[in-house]
């Protein structure tokens, strides 16, 4: 019997242990409701969030980490439809077969918040202007499919997502993660009164204002004074390296998205310890980092750009004021009287053979063009000011035209008379530079970078 009691006690202990451990995975202490109820509620909540206040949202969409991001406007309706609008080169390709320029496109398809491991925003019927990034076809590299000589992406396409795990909602921003390829994206609420096409055109205009191929490099100016060189900005895949470092061995590429109010990197960048991601366009055309409110993105100093020996600048009467407007008008009259010729433009260019700047006037007489030229020497240059001296003699045509059209010579002399203050249409893309006589703002000429 003693043996039986021992066995019984051992069994009791074992069973007691089993009874204590059998519910070790209970979740009642963590959540008040079961998973289904919580998911259903989350679906309903996110559906309400998406469709409330007009239901219009801006998605900062990235198909992958090797292409630029693109803005899409999405208007969610309670009937399960969504209007998706965008303006990019891929939409143009869908519409016309060309992707040399961006094009606007808008189409209605369907959406739903579904339950997976959590709430998922699914665009579950095809929208040709959005799902194009998920189509598994070869990606044309430029122009048309016929010119695509690079990798065959058939079977892959852009590998973009159209289902997104909803990670959180905060401050009218939805934080999403692509369900298949796991890229993080954000969706922010937009006023319901916004016109889709106008808004998207403004985004494109914003992109055009940032980077210009005529300004081959711009700079990220860190608060510590260090600059990072940014090249290939027009591609929205920025080539970046620390100024002073070797470009070939240190440059990295980072994709960005042009938004309605600025530019954002797909991933936050840490440059010399400064973390940057989102930039806002300023009134002067520069970009200011929203994350630290100090870092900027600009082109080089205006003086450096205007006197860059590789740049060619042209001006015409439409961009002149005061004394220069009068001189342009006088030149026109004198040319007409002299030989019935007309002035196309004035031009400043650096002659690398003679190492001087040349101010020339492109004059058209019939089918013949003449370029009377005068020689400028840069006497001083600062960030925001330049001054020149003008040689007393021009070239052969310069002298001929000076004798017959004295206002041409007067224009050249005016350029060498005083210092000129520099200002530009944009500090990031200063392709239109205004030279204003120091001390007399009425006299100015706008020079356009060629």
């Amino acid at each position: 019997m003693k043996k039986f009691l021992n066995i019984s006690l051992a069994s009791l202990v074992t069973l007691a242990a089993l009874s204590l451990s059998s519910c070790s995975n209970e979740v009642d202490d963590i959540f008040d409701e079961d998973a289904v109820t919580r998911l259903d509620r989350a679906k309903a909540e996110y559906t309400d969030i998406l469709t409330s206040d007009g239901g219009k949202w801006q998605l900062e969409y990235y198909a992958n980490d090797e292409e630029p991001g693109y803005i899409y406007l999405m208007t969610f309706s309670k009937d399960g439809s969504v209007t998706i609008a965008g303006n990019n080169k891929w939409i143009n390709y869908v519409k016309s077969g060309s992707m040399n320029t961006p094009a606007f496109g808008s189409e209605v398809s369907m959406w739903e918040v579904i339950a997976d491991n959590g709430p998922v925003l699914s665009f579950n019927t095809y929208n040709k202007y959005f799902h194009l990034f998920a189509d598994p076809y070869d990606i044309p590299s430029a122009g048309s499919a016929q010119t695509d000589q690079d990798v065959n992406e058939n079977g892959y396409g852009h590998e973009g997502d159209y289902e997104f795990d909803i990670m959180k909602y905060s401050g009218d921003t939805l934080y999403l993660t692509g369900k298949k390829y796991n890229l993080n994206m954000i969706m922010t609420r937009v006023a319901s009164t916004v016109d889709d096409e106008m808004y998207m055109n403004e985004v494109v205009a914003m992109a055009d204002s940032f980077f210009n191929s005529k300004i081959p490099q711009v700079y990220i100016n860190l608060p510590n004074g260090q600059r990072w060189i940014v090249k290939e900005g027009a591609s929205s895949i920025l080539k970046m390296f620390r100024e002073g470092d070797d470009e070939i061995s240190t440059a990295e590429y980072h994709n960005v998205i042009i938004t309605h109010d600025g530019l954002s990197f797909m991933d936050a960048q840490t440059l010399d310890g400064y973390v940057i991601k989102n930039f806002i366009r300023q009134a002067d055309g520069s970009l200011l980092c929203r994350d630290d409110n100090q870092t900027t993105m600009t082109a080089d100093e205006l003086g450096t750009i205007f006197t860059d020996i590789h740049n060619t600048w042209r001006a015409d009467p439409a961009g002149a004021g005061g004394q220069f407007a009068s001189l342009f008008a006088a030149i026109a009259e004198e040319l007409k009287a002299y030989n019935k010729s007309t002035l196309n433009y004035a031009q400043i260019v650096y002659n690398e053979n003679t190492s001087v700047y040349e101010l020339s006037f492109n004059i058209k007489k019939g089918s013949v063009r003449y370029n009377p030229t005068y020689y400028l020497t840069l006497t001083s240059m600062s960030d925001e000011q330049v001054s020149y001296s003008v040689a007393p003699q021009g070239d052969r045509y310069g002298e001929t035209y000076a004798a017959n059209c004295p206002s041409i010579r007067a224009f050249a002399d005016a350029m060498g008379a005083v210092a000129y203050d520099l200002s530009a249409n944009s500090l990031l893309s200063p392709v239109n530079m205004k030279l204003t006589q120091s001390g007399n703002a009425a006299n100015y000429v706008v020079w356009n970078l060629q």
Partner: protein
């Protein structure tokens, strides 16, 4: 005393065991995580008309879920696939009914598809492209339960040939799989083209494959695909297409490339330059061949618009059929086996089925069919 101790011990054991068994009795089972199939359709929904059509014509009638909104959990995540375009889904939904379900209802009885038909039809916008091989999957039948139709976004409703190739052919092909997975077909079928299947390189085979006794290149991949392809082609090919295929199957085919060359192009005509048989023959595509028949019935073939240096027309010859196979006879033999199998296993007249499909596909009006959805109130 011993007896009391025994009872106490036994009682304790039972009590603890009962506790251990009952310790989870407080667990609450929530509702199913799957969608409620009885969910009431919302008349204000963007897709109400289509959803109602699908419910009344597929779900209620055949217990079949017609999925046009992409549930990617139902697809192979190894492929990059996109959802189907909504309007194309409407077209395919009404065409599936008209050219498939209504046909079987009429020829085989209304309970046939209810019993043997698929339970899920899934529409997918893109093809499933294998990046390695470059091959495209345009249809898939899984376990007799689900049929997936791909490339819905590429469909051109005005191009019936394309519609047949992508969908109706696929529907009948995949349904043939479902049927033979339910009742196997005679093994005699597998003996007709034994040794001529090529599961690895079938996609490189062109029209010349008909000469081997296959209706398509895909049919030459394996027995079961051959069976399904034979049935599908027989049903959806027009008389002209079917006769043309049999004519191709009766020809001889040859190539100037190596037989091992996967990209080899096969021809069924050749000529001698300058009509000089001493020269090496040159293979010729059919589109360059013009055929003329004499009053006595003799057939002559010439190179279209080409003459030799003497101004004589260049004579074109048929490639000799050396493969030892009567391709046309083999295909017809396969059709006969399928015909008998349909009759004995399913009590279906395959010829009547084909006739019904042919009549419908030659006469349907898509705008009228669309009204089945768009006129729903």
């Amino acid at each position: 005393m011993k007896k009391i101790q025994y009872y106490i011990s036994a009682l304790l054991l039972v009590a603890v065991a009962a506790m251990s068994l009952s310790s989870c009795s407080g667990d609450k089972l929530g509702p199913t995580i799957f969608p409620d199939v009885d969910e009431t359709l919302d008349p204000n929904s963007y897709s109400y008309k289509l959803d109602k059509f699908l419910k009344e014509n597929y779900l209620d009638k055949y217990n079949l879920t017609f999925l046009y909104k992409m549930p990617d959990i139902s697809t192979n995540m190894n492929y990059n696939l996109v959802p189907a375009e909504y309007n194309n889904s409407v077209d395919l939904a009404v065409l599936c009914k008209h050219l498939w379900f209504d046909v079987y209802d009429k020829v085989a009885g209304e309970d046939f598809l209810k019993t043997y038909g698929p339970r899920i039809i899934l529409l997918i916008g893109s093809p499933a492209i294998n990046p390695t091989s470059g091959s495209e999957t345009v249809g898939l039948a899984e376990g007799g339960i689900k049929i997936s139709l791909f490339k819905v976004n590429s469909m051109n409703i005005s191009n019936f040939q394309q519609m047949n190739d992508l969908y109706f052919h696929t529907m009948h092909h995949e349904f043939a799989h479902i049927l033979h997975q339910t009742k196997t077909y005679p093994s005699e079928f597998n003996t007709i083209s034994v040794g001529r299947y090529d599961p690895n390189n079938w996609q490189y085979r062109g029209d010349e494959v008909t000469s081997l006794g296959f209706v398509t290149g895909y049919a030459s991949s394996e027995y079961r695909e051959d069976f399904a392809e034979t049935i599908a082609c027989f049903i959806v090919y027009t008389d002209a297409q079917w006769d043309r295929m049999l004519e191709l199957a009766s020809r001889g085919w040859a190539t100037s490339a190596s037989d091992d060359d996967l990209d080899a192009v096969y021809y069924s005509y050749y000529y001698y330059p300058e009509n000089d048989a001493e020269q090496d023959l040159v293979y010729l595509e059919e589109r360059y061949v013009v055929t003329e028949t004499d009053e006595d019935g003799t057939v002559h073939k010439y190179y279209r618009n080409n003459r030799d240096k003497n101004g004589n027309r260049i004579v074109v010859y048929d490639v000799e059929d050396k493969d030892g196979i009567d391709g046309s006879a083999a295909i017809l033999q396969k059709v006969q086996i399928a015909r008998e199998w349909f009759r004995t296993a399913w009590s279906i007249d395959l010829d009547a089925l084909r006739e019904e499909v042919q009549t419908r596909q030659a006469t349907y009006d898509i705008n009228e069919l669309r009204k089945m959805v768009y006129d729903i109130q």
